[in-house]
Amino acid sequence: MAELDDHLFRREAGRMVAALTRLFGVHNLALAEDVVQDAFVRALEVWRQRGVPENPSAWLMATAKNRALDILRRERTARTYAPELGRALESEWTLAPTVAEAFGEPAIRDDQLRMMFSCCHPQLPEIAQVALVLNILCGFGVNEVAAAFLTGHSAMEKRITRGKKVLAGSKRLFDLSDERDLPQRLSAVQRALYLLFNEGYHGANPELAVREDLCVEAMHLAELLLARPVTATPATKALIALMCLNAARMPARVDATGNLSALYEQDRRLWDQALIAKGEQLLDHSATGTTITEYHIEAGIASLHARAHSLEDTNWPMIVSLYDTLMTIRPSPVVALNRAIAVAQHEGAERGLSEIERIAEVERLADYPFYFGALGELEHQRGNGEAARTHFLTASARARNPLERKFFERRAQEVTRA
């Protein structure tokens, strides 16, 4: 009997809803979601008794397709469907082929792209765009999106409901051949995928499995951008490069005992060489055109880390200069902090600390545990054990999950002993 791939339902949910919305029209998103839910309920009823079919994805798609045909025939007069499809859904001659085509593989990939662009609607704040992408395209339930972002359920529900209203009100799915709006919308999509990846990579959720899922979803959706010439821009390639190069380090971020491990103590042999190679290749390909984005810079930094055999072997001056550029493109206290840490790596702790003192709007880091973590490391390096300990304890008090807390507590103990 066939097995189920991990997260198959979640993945198929996003694909089905994209195809169904293409047929029903974006104003009928809720109907599309109902059809998807029905398909899963049906699958559960049948499979639990008869076993999982050889090709569960095809089974789900066929069920959703038949249900869609049924609705399109039965409610032909009661509802209006996708204006994009014009009269194709009105006559029996064109209905079946149109629906069959919508459920074909190439069409589904395009539908996922259109949906992704539609979710990143300029009327919505970035965080709502990311939430919508996760909910609609990645099949995360409201509670799962809320959990991923450590937000309350009702707050997330409001955000997603409002997002869907805006989406439904936009009348049509985003048209990828719209040359006027494409560049701006593409950069919103890239930003949303970047935020999704970052939430997975640096986010506060204590469960690493959840966070790795977010990274995987972000990379999966970004790959869809790569498949079409209009969306496979240098910035898209740089974005995927940065995802690959950072994701490559994930296997080493937690040690054998389940504890968080900092860059300097990671076993670099665990880094994923295939992802590094892919990231390097994309980074090469991204170096065309006239615009340099924050993704290029961040991918460049990740690439320098990936190529170094040890902390000492790292090209710190180059990393500092990349952070300098990043500060001109997208300045933030976190970027400034990372820059200061890189300065300290090749010019010493004193220089690093004075760079930290110069960070603008440093008060925005008041709750950021790694700010105090960095102060702790640098005080420790210049032999000020007591100050280091205080900073690590402050960091541990601001830790967002048990893994971070344990990490800073361990550092506080180690510097006291040293």
Partner: protein, 112 residues
Amino acid sequence: MSQFLYLYRGGDSAGTPEQMQQNMQKWMVWMQDLGAKGKLKERGNPLENTGKVVKKKTAITDGPFAEAKDIVGGYTLIEAKDIDEAAAFAAGCPIFDNGGFVEVRPILTMNM
């Protein structure tokens, strides 16, 4: 060994895709376990939630025949030593996660 019928009654399996997949995986594990222990006679079939109720020639009505929460959603034929063993195996059924329940009925055999 005697034969018993499991009737799966009620239960709402709706949820997020991930929850539903986890539910499905529990069913697979449970069925496999019944099979591995040699208890599974016939996996059975799911039943539609609609149908007809026929009481006499002239009284054919549309189902359902029970309260929605009690509708039989499917059946499985199993083999067990006695009703207690059959009931004990049913206790592992994932249907309880969704608020449903299992009715265990001995198949009546004639001793002739």
